[in-house]
Amino acid sequence: MTCWETIQAYGLRSLGIGERLLPSSDFTICQQVTLIGSGMIWNLYFGILALIFGFVLATAIAMARAARSPWLRKPAEWFIFVFRGSPLFIQFFLAYEALQLLPKAGFEIFGITVATSWTTKAWAGALFVMFLNTAAYSAEIFYGALRSIPRGDLEAADAYGITGWHKFRRIQWPTMLRLAWPAYTNEAIFLFHATTLVFFSGFPAFQQKGDALYYANYFADKTFNPFIPYPIVGTYFILLTLLVTLLFGVVNRYLNRHLPSNQRSRIRLRPQVIR
């Protein structure tokens, strides 16, 4: 099989398209690169969707955490504490077991049957956990940024009679994002790293449709040679990290566009990994 044929057969294997059986002998570098690359589709899927949904929830939770009413503040604090204080690995297991307890036949609501079996699949269940997890981490970042908005900015808004929703939308939110963005970039990078945990944590890989690390682990188990598949995953992730840094850097420049160049915040990669 030439390399091009391998790419055609396994390029979308992680989605169940193409050759059904995984290679089982005479492993070539091309097969490993292709299959592991195909697994990256899932890492991207989990990372991107969790980031998008998590961003919205995180903003809401950060606002709730900064609220004066304890009815809003306390639940937000607890949410952040629970998701930041426990390992993501355990959260995955816990969520999987909890979702399995849902009635198999589905719920009856107003005569409509709501199916539940899809929730135990990785694409839904694991995504849900990652969504909540990243929301908690990002909320903490946003909350910190919200608290460090310069007082002068808010006073100026008050002086001009900008209040309520308008003040939040035009003053608080953009400043919060600008201050939080370097830290949020790190969060995004490590969220992508955390997606590798999904298929090692209870959620089964149905029909061997797994992520990059799942396939790398498959090859390492089969060939007893860790020196090829793991560096391949590593390379893919370094490329992904560079891409994320680049994209977030563009947004960072946009958020800082009104500032003189010596006051702009730079994005620095800080190590802060497993949750």
Binding site: G85, L94, G234, F237, L269, V273
Partner: protein
């Protein structure tokens, strides 16, 4: 464990619960918490040592040493650390066996990597295939500890390198002006002062380390996750203590364990920060001085 637990089928209510929670396997489960604690206790100083070495190497005047240090600190940035965990455990295992193989059986003619197999001579197996299960577990645990220390050492090196850079340059210059040698400046001025700058990063690292301990499960160690899955799974009537699927409750227990660990660490680290900020030329130190006067 108790005499009254001899025949579980006759038990009920609280007695049943008590006997259930003290079966041999449950005692193993409780011991696995000790395993986790042990991992933390051994790994933390080991990672600090690796990190210190890495940070010193990265600041070295000798170029090759500096490159090694920089490469080590950069290692963990772009790649998920779980990849390192999975990689190092196999790579270390094979490396040790290969070296041992060269040493034990120099006249072994077959290649070690043959097709899809990694095969060393029987005398070079680590641990020997005749060794007891306990040895195999201990070896697995030691490999896991070393891997953790290596990966977290890279994080610690990052933090310590930053902290060393953060110590005010004037302090070092003053020390040199008083005629201290490089070594003396390092030992008496740089190292004592860097901790207050390193502490936020190190406490963050400690939290991450706590939350990384369930990954022991992936490295093949019988840790709390392993036992929670094992004990929680549904048990039929064939078992002494039949019960439905209780894994959810076991994992809830683990979750509470980790939350308590996190909270306790937060409290202790908060106190430590206050202690280390005393008399330092930082914002926290200034605040403390003002509060005292």
């Amino acid at each position: 464990m108790f005499a009254s637990c001899a025949d579980p089928s006759t038990l009920s209510g609280l007695n049943w619960t008590l006997c259930y929670l003290t079966t041999g396997k449950h005692l193993d489960f409780y011991w696995s918490f000790v395993t986790v604690m042990m991992l933390l206790v051994i790994t933390a100083p080991a990672a600090m040592a690796f990190g210190f070495g890495g940070a010193v190497a990265a600041r070295s005047h000798i170029a090759p040493l500096r490159w090694i240090g920089k490469a080590y600190t950069a290692m963990v940035r772009g790649v998920p650390d779980i990849v390192f965990f999975l990689f190092f455990v196999i790579a270390l295992d094979q490396g040790i066996e290969w070296v041992n193989h060269q040493y034990q059986c120099p006249d072994w003619t077959e290649p070690v990597w043959k097709g899809l197999e990694f095969r060393v001579c029987p005398a070079a197996k680590v641990p020997l295939s005749t060794a007891s299960a306990g040895w195999h577990q201990a070896y697995g645990f030691a490999l896991a500890v070393f891997t953790f220390a290596l990966v977290f050492g890279a994080f610690a090196a990052n933090v310590l390198y930053g902290a060393m850079e953060a110590v005010p340059g004037a302090q070092l210059e003053t020390a040199e002006a008083y005629g201290m040698s490089h070594r003396q400046v390092f030992r008496r001025v740089l190292v004592p002062q860097m901790w207050t700058y390193a502490l936020p990063g190190l406490s963050n690292l400690w939290m991450i380390l706590i939350k990384a301990t369930p990954l022991l499960f992936l490295l093949g160690v019988q840790d709390i996750v392993y036992w929670a899955r094992e004990l929680g799974g549904a048990k039929t009537q064939a078992y002494a203590y039949p019960h439905p699927d209780w894994r959810l409750y076991y994992f809830l227990g683990l979750m509470v364990f980790y939350l308590v660990m996190t909270k306790l660490s937060e409290i202790v680290l908060g106190r430590l920060t206050a202690r280390l900020s005393q008399g330092q030329a930082t914002m926290a130190g200034d605040a403390m001085r003002k509060a005292a006067t």
